[in-house]
């Protein structure tokens, strides 16, 4: 495919990549998310990754479902086609788009509600189909856009902003993906750009479904027990207004730490998450080992991060469907229509 690069005058300070584009060229409209939302940090990492790889933005398609997370495709790659679709159904759109045009680089953005509740079935089957897409699950354990109900990835025992405890086990997207035979499974943290950017790049390069679970704290709604005063304050006001509408000003959480080590990260509400980065010598080619490692650390109250599994031989949707290497969208009509003579011939069958 021929990449069109556009001449542009840039502020000299802005560094250019191999195809002469600056990070700015990979940005989108400005975010409408809460100040300090983890999702915005992920957006920044995505911009960095695409820039590093010198991918022409218009060769990318960015799709999403519905949710705060699913809004973020508007905030990167201005020059890429975007599709903010319906809740939980983005995997089907990507499968169809990818079947139609295999030359596009697909990135799907979703949330834990979008992926693990309403969209769980589609996610599982997109994994099975091994659709060639980087699937980023921006995981905050709540439904942000609908104001803080538990999602299926909320930790058991955690308290909602309304003060109710979650009674159910969390679905671990990585364990699920491994069980379904995913060919690429990774987990990151929105605040750890150093770890996240390389995983995004690896996922974009992967031929097949790259599942990337990114823990992405919700500033506004994942208050837990022992939360700040503002919490009591907002709850107080809940009584007399339709919805608590105060969002405390906050800034994004960051955490950079060494492979093999554990890092305790405090969330906006004062609660903690223990992140365990896979060791440098971790072997990501053994599916069962990956599963066991996640489970073992889980029991120790830790959340494993890093590139957890990478299939040595990944056969994507097109390999499986044995489609031609030319995108179906680019096949000339005359190579598709058998013509009238053939139509007359084949109708002998119907006499």
């Amino acid at each position: 495919m021929s990449y069109i690069t556009k001449p542009k005058v840039h502020h000299p300070a802005l560094q250019q990549n191999a195809i002469g584009l600056t990070r700015r060229d990979y940005e989108g409209t400005i975010t409408t998310l809460c100040a300090g939302c983890g999702h915005d940090s992920i957006t920044a990492a995505i911009i960095q990754a695409f820039w590093d790889l010198s991918i022409p933005p218009h060769k990318v398609a960015k799709l999403s479902g519905i949710g705060c997370s699913s809004k973020t495709p508007a905030y990167f790659l201005r020059e890429a086609h975007g599709f903010n679709s319906v809740h939980g159904r983005m995997p089907a759109l990507v499968a169809g788009a990818n079947a139609a045009n295999r030359d596009i680089i697909y990135i799907g953005i979703s949330g834990d509600g979008d992926s693990l509740s309403i969209g769980l079935g589609q996610l599982c089957h997109a994994i099975r189909r091994n659709v060639n897409v980087l699937y980023v699950l921006e995981n905050n354990g709540v439904y942000g856009l609908t104001k803080g109900q538990f999602s299926a990835s909320a930790d058991p025992g955690s308290l909602s902003k309304k003060g109710e405890a979650n009674t159910m086990d969390a679905i671990d997207g990585c364990l699920l993906a491994l069980t379904l035979g995913a060919t690429f499974v990774g987990r990151g943290f929105s605040g750890d750009k150093a770890q996240l950017v390389p995983m995004i790049k690896a996922g974009l390069r992967h031929k097949g479904f790259a599942f990337l679970d990114v823990i992405s704290p919700c500033v506004t709604f994942n208050d837990h027990e022992g939360s700040t005063k503002s919490y009591g304050y907002t709850r107080e006001h809940n009584v007399e207004v339709v919805q608590a509408d105060f969002v405390p000003p906050a800034s994004a959480i960051t955490a950079e730490y060494e492979p093999g080590t554990v890092s305790n990260v405090m969330l906006h509400d004062g609660s903690w998450v223990r992140l365990r980065k896979v060791a440098a010598d971790y072997d990501p080619t053994d599916r069962d080992l990956a599963y066991r490692h996640i489970r073992d650390r889980q029991k120790a109250g830790e959340v494993v991060t890093g590139l957890l599994y990478l299939s040595p031989d990944s056969k994507d949707l097109h390999d499986q469907s044995n489609t031609v290497s030319t995108p179906l969208t680019q096949l000339p009509y005359d190579t598709l229509c058998p013509g009238n003579d053939e139509l007359q011939k084949l109708q002998k069958r119907f006499r």
Binding site: K59, A74, N98, N101, Q122, T323, T329, L336
Partner: protein, 598 residues
């Protein structure tokens, strides 16, 4: 009256006994004799053991509608003896397996019973359970050949064609045919008064089912992506498409496919894949039935509002809910016209037979891309799964797909800034672009509020501007969908209006009613939104009989809503028991209304 080439018979068997091949053989033989013939396969929603029937109507005048009274019955299924025998007209013939004594339930003084020891003959002639069961069917086919005076030569040829690569099978089939044929020839006065005589009425026709024909339409229109979830009666559409693709869409060198068929996990995913593929620039479609349309509703609204093409085949079956999956109905007319929440309206095409299924399937892709919206092709189980005699399909090789307004990289260079929802030409249709073409073509597709520039909006005026344009756009389509079929009858003051598969029954009924002194003008809608000619027709007649196959008069509802013609002019004639409509239904309905009026 003369019953030569003018009679109907029915074969009653149990599901899973392999009778379909025998029945197909009979159909084909009659067809090859040049005699107009129709077959209706009445099968249960299970795989083995439940009652199944095959109805064959032979009509020299070429009436192809189902007829409910039969001259001859082949009663092979004890479970339905009682019911089957009652469906014979007085003076008819009953063929049964006389290996066992005639069952009391089968005795009817006013019909002639013809006993043939099928099981016995077959069991002596063949070993192996499987072969015996199957050959019993071929044997009754042979018996019918004798009784109805089928051309034995033609049958031999058919077997030869069919089993050219399976000599063993050919022999046993021949033997089975002869068993039945010889037996009736020696034991009964053959042929019966109801009999066949060669004609030359089928030379330019084929016997084809609507799903196969629709699949050909998709193939010829250049569809490359098919997504589906299996459901009766739509399943065979995608299966046919697949087999055609395997024949015509495999690259000779690389042996790779110029198509992708995705078996989705459900209908929500299937239509999602179609929308995704169309958005990326492919011609994509999904075949389904009522339950699938219900499940697709949310996605359909997205495609409507975000203006993404999509082709959806609704092979209608008897609803509501699971209903009777192996019976036919026209129960999704309203749903497809207005599917999804909020203000929506969709282009619909209504084929009346397999030939139109082929043509409209092809046309649906042009319409979907031209108007950038979902297009429904509504056939039904009768059209989709039964073999119809229709004129040979033809394809105009000068056809080129109408992709609608899709800007190329070059065209984009020409425009200053590209805005996805800007009505530049004033025809309600804004240009779209495909991913990967050019940095200037990028836009953001969303099901949430957007303005004409494609930007997110919560501003009332900006929102209204866009959905009003979409409304105009869809209204335009009324001029692009297939025009209604209209026939005028001398001296007719009243009209008869119908849709889809009711066509055959209505034409027959109109002839009979005319002979009865009730001339009727005729209109069959073929596309939605309706055009001005539909309104004109309705207004031109004080009484319009609206003939359709659903309980609630959904076609009449659509006509009321879209043409504003008052209900007094629209007399509803409905049959919705699950069988294809027959002329009697129409005639009885019309007469009942007339009597009430009188």
């Amino acid at each position: 009256m003369d019953r030569v080439n003018n009679f109907a018979f029915k074969i009653a068997t149990a599901n899973g006994t392999g009778s379909a091949s025998a029945n197909g053989l009979i159909m084909q033989a009659i067809f090859r004799m040049g005699v107009p013939v129709t077959g209706k396969n009445v099968f249960p929603s299970n795989i083995q053991g439940l009652p199944t029937w095959y109805e064959i109507r032979v009509n020299r005048k070429g009436y192809t509608a189902r007829t409910p009274d039969f001259d001859l019955m082949v009663a092979m299924n004890p479970a339905t003896y009682q019911k089957d025998v009652t469906e014979l007209r007085p003076g008819g013939w009953l063929v049964y397996d006389s290996t066992w004594p005639l069952d009391d339930t089968l005795v009817r003084p006013d019909v002639t019973s013809l006993g043939i020891p099928l099981a016995q003959m077959v069991n002596t002639a063949f070993k192996g359970v499987r072969e015996r069961i199957l050959m019993k069917n071929i044997a009754y086919a042979g018996a019918l050949a004798g009784l109805l005076d089928m051309d034995a030569e033609i049958i031999r040829t058919l077997l030869a064609e069919k089993f050219s690569r399976k000599p063993a099978l050919m022999d046993s089939n021949r033997t089975a045919i002869d068993l039945g044929y010889d037996y009736v020839k020696t034991h009964f006065p053959c042929p019966l008064p109801i009999r066949l005589a060669a004609m030359n009425e089928t030379a330019d026709s084929i016997l084809i089912d609507g799903n196969t024909a629709a699949a050909l339409g998709c193939l010829y229109a250049g569809a490359t992506v098919g997504a589906w979830y299996p459901i009766t009666p739509a399943t065979s559409l995608m299966e046919a498409f697949k087999s055609f693709c395997q024949k015509y869409r495999v690259d000779p060198e690389s042996k790779q496919n110029r198509f992708a068929i995705l078996q989705a996990e459900d209908e929500l995913a299937a239509v999602g894949m179609v929308i995704g593929a169309s958005w990326a620039g492919a011609r994509a479609f999904t075949p389904t039935a009522g339950p699938g349309i219900s499940l697709m509703s949310e996605f359909i609204g997205l495609a409507y509002y975000a203006e993404v093409p999509a082709v959806i085949f609704d092979v209608q079956r008897t609803g509501p809910s699971t209903g009777m999956p192996t019976r036919t109905q026209q129960g999704d007319l309203m749903l497809c016209a207005y599917a999804s929440h909020g203000d929506t309206r969709h282009i619909c095409l209504y084929p009346s037979d397999p030939r139109e299924a082929f043509e409209f399937a092809a046309a649906s892709f042009d319409l979907a891309e031209r108007f950038q919206t979902p297009v429904f092709v509504l056939s039904d189980l009768d059209i989709g799964m039964n073999d119809w005699m229709v004129p040979k399909l033809a394809w105009d090789d000068s056809y080129r797909p109408d992709r609608g307004k899709v800007l190329s990289a070059e065209e984009l260079e020409g425009v200053k800034t590209f805005y996805r929802y800007l009505d530049v030409d004033g025809d309600g249709i804004a240009a779209r672009t495909l991913p990967g073409i050019s940095p200037k073509g990028a836009f953001f597709t969303r099901g949430s509020g957007h303005n004409r520039f494609g930007a997110y909006t919560e501003d009332g005026d900006e929102y209204v501007e866009v959905i009003d344009r979409i409304d105009r756009k869809i209204q335009q389509a009324s001029r692009a969908v297939p025009a209604p079929v209209i026939r005028h009858a001398p001296g007719a003051k009243m009209g008869l209006v119908t849709i889809g598969g009711c066509h055959a029954a209505c034409l027959e009924a109109i002839d009979i009613l005319a002979a009865d002194g009730v001339p009727l003008d005729y209109l069959r809608v073929r596309g939605f939104p309706f055009g001005a000619d539909v309104t004109r027709f309705l207004e031109a007649h004080d009484i319009n009989f609206i003939v359709e196959q659903n309980r609630d008069g959904q076609l009449r509802s659509l006509l009321m809503l879209e043409t504003g013609v008052p209900i007094e002019r629209l007399e509803s004639v409905r049959y919705y028991g699950g069988f294809p409509m027959s002329a009697n239904h129409v005639i009885a309905g019309v007469k009942a209304k007339l009597e009430r009026a009188a």
